[in-house]
């Protein structure tokens, strides 16, 4: 999974992410921590069902990225459910009719990137504080 970096301004104003589904642009609002927490738990639970990644955590961003990639390939229906659970404002039926699997996979990755950005930075923060 290749991580893109959103502009700091977008992060501060919680700018929605723009995904392309069926050739059209859709905006997905970023959930606040309280609302994204149960969703994140579901993603981690889904990942744990993959035999190779039963113990994957967000501490290792590289392994976590690989697990997400494996999830996209091995569990497309679960990914679809999780994607529309996060992107509540999108019309699932309408999008499922027009979007390709590749578009949904890319859109899901974009959602994961904003929902799981802490893999490295929190560890870095705590390390820096302990010095």
């Amino acid at each position: 999974m290749k991580r893109r970096n959103r502009a700091e301004g977008d992060k501060v104003v919680h700018a929605p992410i723009v995904v392309i589904l069926g050739g059209q642009e859709y905006k997905i609002n970023i959930l606040v921590i309280k609302d994204s927490r149960p969703w994140r738990a579901k993603v981690v639970k889904a990942l744990s069902k993959l035999p190779e990644y039963t113990k994957v955590t967000t501490d290792d961003s590289e392994l976590f990225g690989k697990a997400i990639d494996a999830m996209l390939v091995g569990m497309p229906d679960t990914v679809l459910d999780l994607f529309f659970e996060y992107a509540k404002s999108l019309d699932r039926e309408e999008i499922e009719d027009v979007a390709s699997d590749a578009e949904v996979a890319k859109a899901f990755e974009q959602v994961v990137e904003v929902a799981f950005p802490l893999a490295n930075s929190l560890v870095g923060t705590m390390t820096s504080f302990s010095q």
Binding site: R6, E8, K11, V12, H14, I30, L31, V32, I33, K34, S36, V114, A115, F116, P117, L118, S121, L122, G124, T125, S128, F129, Q131
Partner: protein, 67 residues
């Protein structure tokens, strides 16, 4: 970290996104590193020679001759 930002944890959980928390953490680390560097820098140059002091002060002092 909450004390640094002067916001209670429940405010962060209810109003910030994960990436906002990440950004704030990154900025806090950067600020702490700058502070540490400044402290290290100021302790090593705490003593200056007489010549350096007068050179620097010379620009700040204006001598006025009065009759």
């Amino acid at each position: 970290m909450m004390a640094e930002w002067h916001v209670p944890p429940d405010y962060i959980i209810n109003n910030w996104t994960e990436e906002m928390l990440e950004l704030m953490s990154d900025k806090l680390v950067e600020r702490k590193e700058r502070e540490n560097q400044a402290l290290r820098g100021s302790s090593s140059s705490a003593k200056v020679s007489d010549a350096t002091l007068f050179n620097q002060a010379g620009n700040l002092i204006k001598v006025v001759k009065r009759n």
